[in-house]
């Protein structure tokens, strides 16, 4: 009986969701590497003293002066739905901005930003799907 319980606990621990404990604006690159391992790739970005650290599963972290400022994540499950985010952030004073002006034949992308929760989601005008989640410091 005890063994089964331990096994169940072990299984729970193994399968449990690992939440990111990055404290944006405070966590250093060394702490990030300790948490997630070494990035697959590092790329320069047009931000002074900034760069992008790229990890598996299209997860990216933007860094400035050795401090992690933003995390870019792929939405999973219900997170892919814009309604999910509108519902989750319904009490937040969100700001919606057009983010890309292209000459394309299709609708532009928008960001829905909630500073208080430290989260921005990217979606396309007229679409129900969220294409990206950006995490940042809470203000």
């Amino acid at each position: 009986m005890k063994q089964t319980m331990y096994l169940a606990l072990l299984l729970l621990a193994a399968c449990g969701v690992k939440h990111s404990s990055v404290d944006y604006g405070k966590t250093k690159v060394s702490d990030l590497v300790a948490m997630k391992g070494h990035p697959v790739e590092e790329k320069p970005i047009p931000v002074k003293d900034g760069k992008m650290l790229i990890f598996d599963n299209n997860e990216k972290f933007q860094v400035k002066d050795d401090i992690v400022t933003h995390g870019f994540k792929e939405p999973k499950g219900d997170e892919r739905s814009l309604l999910y985010w509108k519902h989750k952030l319904k009490d937040c004073d969100t700001v919606t901005k057009k983010i890309a002006v292209t000459d394309g034949h299709i609708a532009p992308e928008y960001e829905l930003k909630c500073s208080a929760e430290g989260v921005t989601v990217i979606y396309t005008e007229g679409s129900e799907f969220v294409s990206r989640i950006i995490e940042h410091d809470k203000k």
């Binding site: 931000v47 299709i106 990217i122 679409s127």
Partner: protein, 856 residues
């Protein structure tokens, strides 16, 4: 036992998948209604001479016959009920009644519904022709045929779906005459030709509602002048003049590529839906195939920046295809269809094969390939004519001299008169099929008349005919009765019913093409064996049968057929959608659960979670009901596989109807909210100012505004189901109800009366802040001088206490300075002396508490 059960189930499944005794399919009944879909071919008979092109039969008679043919196929019950102006919808052919029910409000001059006199019209083409100011013209038929073939409207009205002005006829801040919204005669021909060029998936888009041209001479209001077409996932395609340009040869021009490109964006949207991505082109496999990746970052102003980049060695059909994966996707698919030879050169083989397989049922459109595919397509006809030619020529005693064939073309020695006779027949067949393809095929004249193709048609036909003739001659030599025996086999070749049944029965199998091929070969074998031929001849017949009924061809045809079948049953599906909406509307609503499920979605709109979750959980069973309600000639769906196919076809149509209801209800709710606010006359502000429990902060005006709005949402009786309260009311509340609320008489008076309470709040806040600062310091001291063992506890005791005490004064000063900057302290002018004495009073008690908690 488990293994045995699994084995048993596998047998049953295999049996149901492959048994020829599977229940009959609806699609066979449905297709029997339209077996004679050969309007254009019949038109050839009336033309008499060769060298004519598709444009030569672009007339009312041809188009009218096409309409009749398609209407017969799409005729269904129940019909739409109701009226459109003077017309009783139930008396019209079903497709017309469905069209008017769906688009009747969007026809003609939307500023003035009486601008055109439709009173003499009895059908949809006539209505469109009135809009064009014409009688019995091709315009009306092209518009209506577009609907019949594609399932959405080719608009002829003066309101652009996403225009800035609310008024029809206004675009780019100008008023436009109605004729500027209509297509020219040349454009109408090209649109009709394009409707023949494209097949599924271009013709089976479920969420596209209309294709609309903006006023002639104008650019888009919302996009750069460089774009000539825009595709919206909300269901629209907009076109400027540049996307409608044509060459002097009307079978050429940018129109074909541009509209196919915009339609391909919709394929991208719709294929993306199933993959949980916005676009199919954003899936990893396509990004890898096409060579794209995303560059993204947040700029110094905190704004997200996202740009697509591509590999340096990327292969592109056009420069524009390099701007983004979605443009690459649409551009590659459009080029593939319209400029086959250029596409073959400019795409990687992998990319080329992907487009061919995924979007053109493994076809390709290089000119040589087009010729070969026509010869394959007309194979039964060629075989039968060749068969007759060999029999006739074997009896022919004299024939005019022909140099078409030479004796060495054949492996068997042929008498000169037979060679002459076959040459003459071959020439006739080659010319006849050339005339047929020039006229009947939308690519016909372009391919035949291209300078690079001179002589190629004849060469390909000759090559094919030599093989066929040679084989028949050989067979005839071996067995004079052979040709007579296989005649029935050839007669049966064009019957597509067994192939359709095989496709249905293999649907969803792990290897559909193999299952299909096995069934088709099985049937061919049964038929061929009955002829008692030698093995090699039997095998040849089987191969021929299987190659004629290829999996890709049958799949292509059935995709469109099932789409048409569902289109013909739209009223029953609409009724199921309405029933589901009503049942979910009736439950008690709240927005506390997380919205979950993705069967039904609402684009970038909103819906309370109880409603959303109800629709999502119930939609699958409603779709199943809709499928079971489908009937053709009183026959309902009986085949389990077919039910699955129909489920997948009905689903998008059902969800699209549900979305229409959602949009309508959302609009109604918006109107109710506006109505409510226009009548409230300041009552809401009075109610908010009647008590102040909602105030969380008295000095931050932004916070007061936010709290005021929250209180207002509580008080407003209308609890929206399809909007967030802030979307409907925030603007009004900011400008009216909550405007300057903190300077109102009631608010100021309440604040003055509450001064004592606020002072107490400030001092308790000071204590809390000091506790937090002290706790952090105590933790830092423990880190430096640990208490992890009894020895360390004693060894560092003095250092730990000193670490806390020595910092205490700094902690008090920083806490005090923070509190003195608190807007509440400033507002109520609380003195620093008063706060300092409070700190002194609590100092020792707090220090002892922290030491006891963290140092022991």
């Amino acid at each position: 036992m488990i293994r045995n059960s699994t084995l048993f189930l596998s047998f049953i499944f295999l049996f149901s998948a492959c048994s020829e005794r599977s229940p009959k399919t609806l699609i066979s009944h449905f297709e029997k209604k339209s077996e004679t879909d050969k309007v254009l071919e019949r038109a050839i008979a009336n033309l008499g001479e060769g060298g004519k092109c598709l444009i030569d039969i672009f007339n009312v008679d041809t188009l009218e016959s096409e309409v009749k043919e398609l209407e017969q196929k799409l005729e269904s019950s129940p019909k739409s009920v109701g009226t459109w102006k003077h017309l009783d919808l139930s008396t019209l052919p079903s497709p017309q009644s469905h069209f008017l029910k769906k688009y009747g409000k969007d026809l003609g001059d939307l500023n003035n519904p009486d601008a055109f006199d439709y009173s003499s019209c009895r059908d949809v083409p006539c209505i469109y022709n009135k809009i064009y100011g014409k009688e019995k013209d091709v315009a009306g038929y092209v518009h209506y045929l577009w609907y019949l073939r594609f399932g959405h409207m080719l608009a002829a009205d003066n309101k652009i779906p996403v225009q800035k002005s609310k008024n029809p006829g206004e675009y780019q801040d100008k008023t436009h005459s109605f004729d500027k919204y209509l297509f020219s005669h040349k454009e109408l021909y090209a649109l009709w030709r394009l409707s023949h060029m494209l097949k599924a998936p271009h013709t089976t888009l479920n969420y596209l509602k209309e294709v609309q041209k903006i006023p002639r001479g104008e650019n888009f209001e919302t996009a750069s002048a460089a774009a000539c077409g825009l595709a919206y996932s909300s269901g629209y395609i907009l076109l400027t003049d540049d996307c409608l340009s044509l060459s002097s040869d009307q079978d050429m021009g940018f129109l074909y590529q541009a509209i196919t490109h915009e339609l391909s964006h919709h394929i991208d949207f719709e294929s993306g839906r199933g993959s949980k991505k916005i676009y199919r082109s954003h899936k990893d496999d396509y990004l890898e195939l096409a060579g794209f990746f995303m560059e993204e970052y947040v700029d110094k102003d905190g704004k997200a920046q996202r740009r697509w980049a591509h590999k340096k060695d990327i292969k592109l059909v056009s420069q524009y295809a390099g701007t983004a994966p979605e443009e690459n996707f649409a551009e590659s698919i459009a080029f593939f269809r319209v400029e086959g030879d250029i596409t073959k050169k400019n795409l990687t083989n992998e990319h080329y094969d992907f487009v061919s397989k995924e979007f053109y049922f493994s076809q390709s459109f290089e000119r040589e390939r087009i010729f070969k595919s026509w010869i394959e397509e007309y194979q039964p006809d060629i075989l039968q004519k060749s068969f007759k030619a060999v029999i006739d020529c074997s009896k022919e005693k004299s024939s005019p001299k022909s140099v078409y064939f030479s004796p060495k073309d054949f492996s068997n020695p042929l008498l000169p008169q037979m060679l002459n006779c076959l040459g003459e027949r071959a020439l006739e067949m080659t010319q006849e099929l050339k005339n047929k393809t020039m006229l009947y095929k939308p690519d016909g004249c372009r391919a035949h008349n291209h300078h690079s193709m001179e002589g190629k048609w004849n060469a390909f036909m000759k090559e094919a005919l030599i093989k066929i003739f040679d084989k028949y001659v050989e067979d005839l030599k071996k067995d004079p009765a052979y040709l007579g025996r296989i005649k029935s086999f050839y007669d049966d070749l064009s019957d597509k019913t067994p192939a359709r049944e095989a496709y249905v029965n293999c649907y969803g199998e792990s290897d559909e093409p193999k299952c299909f091929s096995d069934l088709i070969r099985k049937r061919a074998t049964e038929k061929a064996l009955a002829l008692n031929l030698p093995d090699d001849q039997t095998n040849e017949l089987i191969d021929m049968y299987a190659s004629y009924h290829s999996y890709e061809t049958v799949k292509d045809e059935l995709k469109k057929s099932y789409h048409d079948l569902v289109k013909s049953q739209i009223e029953g599906i609409r009724s199921e959608a309405k029933t589901l909406w009503k049942s979910c509307e009736g439950i008690s609503h709240n927005d506390s659960e997380t919205p979950s499920g993705s069967v039904f979605q609402i684009a970038d709109g909103y819906m309370v979670s109880s409603f959303y979750n109800c629709l999502n959980s119930e939609a699958p069973s409603s779709i199943k009901n809709a499928v079971r309600g489908i009937s053709v000639n009183q026959m309902k769906v009986q085949n389990a596989k077919e039910e699955l196919i129909l489920f997948n076809e009905v689903k998008p149509a059902f969800l699209s109807l549900l979305t229409d209801i959602y949009k309508m209800e959302r609009e109604k709710e918006e109107k109710s909210a506006a109505d409510l606010l226009s009548k409230e006359q300041g009552q809401l502000r009075s109610d908010i100012l009647s008590s102040f429990h909602w105030v969380k902060n008295v000095v931050d005006n932004q916070q007061i505004m936010s709290d005021c709005k929250k209180r207002a949402y509580e008080l407003i009786k209308l609890k929206p189901l399809f909007h967030l309260p802030k979307t409907l009311f925030s603007d009004y509340l900011e400008k009216n109800t909550c405007l300057n609320i903190s300077t109102s008489k009631e608010f100021t008076s309440w604040l003055e009366g509450s001064k004592g309470q606020f002072s107490e709040k400030i001092t308790s806040g000071l204590d809390e802040k000091m506790l937090i600062a002290g706790t952090n310091q105590a933790k830092a001291c423990v880190k430096e001088f640990p208490v992890d063992s009894a020895v360390n506890k004693i060894r560092f005791r003095k250092e730990r206490e000193a670490c806390l005490m020595n910092k205490w004064s700094d902690l008090e000063n920083s806490t005090l300075s923070e509190v003195l900057n608190d807007p509440l302290v400033i507002k109520f002018q609380v003195s620093s002396v008063e706060l300092k004495s409070k700190l002194e009073l609590n100092r020792r008690r707090l220090q002892l508490r922290l030491m006891k908690e963290y140092f022991n």
